[in-house]
């Protein structure tokens, strides 16, 4: 349960015990609910123990009198509060005999004041007809706190009968203040299934979503899933009310787990409602999820929103403070099935934000802590969703050992996958991001990379050449791939160099000029490539630079 909701329920109960308005105790609202409950129980004990001796004498005296007379005295002299205090001192059978002679209205008054812990034995034996009568009256009087305190002590058959006497609002409000929250799932199981949609609709009508979410929060996964689908099936206006209530009261920790257990299609339908697309709402839910460890619960929602909304999600994520980003990465590390969603968000960012974010996060554990099967699954999703622009920059930033381990996994040795990666890199300007992975790939597989490169369309190969010319640190890798290409492939590269415009030629020669290993690189070049570089240099006036490089006369 949300701490905030639990605290609110506790304040209501304490106010009832002390006979004050809940508003007078508002200052307790932010305290830990466990401590509030402890305080309430201590105060209850204090009040019950205060007159313990006198009360036990009253109980002993009751034994001497016929039940009918005790009932008369109880009603006309003692009144509800004192009867409640004295009940625990009266013999169980006597108490039930007396109770059956009292009008339900009076019993309801007594019930309000009882401490169920002290009369558990009596409650367990009260006939069902009395429970139903009293529950109906308590429901009418909106005594939800009272009913919430009792459920743990009432036998199942009586609960089932009592729920029948309560309307939807009373069920929700009672569940909210239930003393023993673990009983909610059980109690809801006693409810006829056809009542659930009505209860949720009434939550919307009466604007008591916190109570409804709290109820859902306490259900078992099986029951919650079915009910979550009922929530998902509510119409747009009701969903808007729900989102507004959650946004306003900061209850994402209650709603997101419900969204998570919805079936895929109802979830998609629900989050397609505009209420979920408001940037302020998205910003709130993302921030809260990052802060409160709810990333795993948030992921199904992100996965289900339409593509244009995912762009808004990415923009919000790009502006998260680094500490919160680190939280998300840590949570994704622990829940690897969410890693593709994280990559999807990176994919949806503009290139500049993506580069900045990848630079900010420590992605090494994200990859390092996953086993081969998990990596295989992530790679398969990245492949299906074409998320290479998100994964490759991460592979570039992780530590060399992790990258090495990754590159040694068979997933990265598959020709079809390598073709996809190299093609994506060539199409999307990711050559620079791809190089560290290629460098880590085992020697034997690099031949496959060269073969894949040979098969690239000329314009894609030209893209790679242009990008490599601007990234001198990648030139050696490119030239080593070219060296491993088939003669046909090399001829194609030579033709590209021949067709290269002045800008590319300038970049290429400039890059060589900056590289201390350029001399060896050129030496190792197949003849047709070396000749093409010569021709490009000549065409664009770089002969002297090239000659100097060839003579290994490079400025340090």
């Amino acid at each position: 349960m949300s701490q905030r909701l639990a605290a609110r329920a506790e304040v209501l109960k304490l106010a009832r015990l002390l006979a004050v308005e809940p508003g007078e105790l508002e200052f307790l609202q932010d305290l830990p609910p466990g401590e509030l409950r402890q305080f309430r129980e201590l105060a209850t004990d204090r009040l019950f123990d205060a007159g313990a001796r006198a009360l036990s004498r009253v109980g002993a005296a009751a034994k001497l009198l016929p039940s009918g007379l005790v009932a008369t005295i109880a009603q006309h002299a003692f009144g509800p509060l004192l009867c409640a205090r004295a009940a625990g001192a009266v013999d169980t059978d006597k108490a039930i005999d007396v109770a059956q002679r009292l009008p339900p209205e009076f019993l309801a008054d007594v019930t309000v004041e009882l401490d169920p812990r002290r009369v558990a034995e009596i409650i367990a034996k009260v006939p069902e007809s009395l429970v139903v009568g009293v529950a109906g009256l308590l429901g009418q009087r909106r005594e939800h706190v009272t009913m919430g305190r009792f459920i743990a002590y009432v036998p199942d058959h009586a609960i089932a009968a009592a729920i029948g006497a309560l309307d939807n609002e009373a069920v929700l409000r009672t569940a909210f203040v239930l003393e023993d929250k673990d009983r909610i799932d059980h109690a809801i199981g006693l409810l006829p299934p056809h009542r659930l949609p009505g209860i949720l609709r009434d939550a919307a009508r009466l604007a008591i979503w916190p109570e409804a979410l709290d109820l859902l929060d306490h259900l078992s996964v099986e029951r919650r899933g079915a009910i979550a689908d009922v929530v998902a099936g509510l119409d747009g206006e009701i969903v808007a009310g729900l989102v507004a209530a959650v946004h306003e009261a900061g209850l994402w920790d209650a709603l997101l787990p419900v969204v998570r257990v919805m079936s895929a299609e109802p979830r998609r339908r629900m989050v397609s409602q505009p209420a979920f697309h408001d940037p302020a709402v998205l910003s709130d839910v993302i921030r809260v999820s990052a802060e409160q460890g709810l990333w795993r619960d948030l992921v199904p929602l992100i996965d289900a929103v339409p593509a244009d909304v995912r762009v808004i999600v990415a923009r919000i994520a790009a502006n998260l403070p680094p500490a919160l980003l680190a939280n998300v990465v840590a949570q994704a590390t622990d829940s690897p099935h969410t890693i593709p969603t994280l990559l999807g968000i990176l994919h949806d960012m503009d290139a500049e934000s993506r580069a900045r974010i990848v630079g900010q996060i420590d992605a090494d554990p994200l990859i390092a802590q996953q086993d081969e099967t998990v990596i295989g699954q992530i790679v398969a999703t990245v492949s299906t969703q074409r998320l290479w622009d998100a994964l490759l920059p991460i592979v570039r930033t992780i530590g060399p050992q992790t990258r090495q381990r990754l590159a040694e996994m068979p997933a990265f040795h598959d020709r079809a996958l390598l073709t996809e990666i190299v093609t994506a890199a060539a199409e999307q300007g990711l050559w620079r991001e791809l190089v560290p992975l290629i460098e880590a790939i085992p020697e034997a597989v690099r031949i496959t990379v060269a073969e894949v490169a040979t098969g690239l369309e000329p314009e894609l190969l030209a893209n790679v050449l242009a990008e490599a010319a601007q990234a001198p640190e990648t030139l050696a890798t490119l030239l080593s791939i070219v060296r491993d290409m088939t003669p046909n492939g090399r001829t194609a590269v030579a033709a590209l160099i021949d067709d290269a415009d002045k800008r590319i030629a300038d970049d290429l020669v400039g890059a060589l000029n900056d590289d201390q290993r350029a001399h060896e690189l050129l030496e190792a070049m197949p003849d047709e490539i070396a000749a093409a570089i010569d021709r490009a240099a000549q065409r664009h006036g770089h002969q002297s630079t090239l000659a100097r490089i060839r003579a290994a006369d490079v400025d340090a």
């Binding site: 002390l18 006979a19 305080f39 204090r46 123990d49 001497l64 005295i73 006309h76 003692f78 009144g79």
Partner: protein, 71 residues
């Protein structure tokens, strides 16, 4: 002089949960007052009810009941 937390602890007859003990004096006094009023109200009501209740008891039984109630 007793602190506001001591007064509440005294009224409660038990150690305060830490978060309650850390409340401000004004808030502690609100709790102390409410608890004290509830206890006093109960005491007075019990005494009055016992007296009234006895009037319903038949004269014949009143003696033994009084003995049980007041020793």
């Amino acid at each position: 002089m007793m602190s506001a937390a001591d007064e509440l602890q005294d009224e409660l007859g038990a150690e305060l949960p830490p978060a309650i003990g850390a409340l401000g004096d004004v808030e502690l006094a609100v709790l102390t007052g409410a608890l004290r009023r509830a206890r006093e109200h109960q005491k007075q009501a019990l005494s009055a009810a016992t007296d009234t209740g006895l009037r319903f008891v038949p004269r014949l039984l009143r003696g033994p009941v009084k003995k049980v109630l007041f020793g």
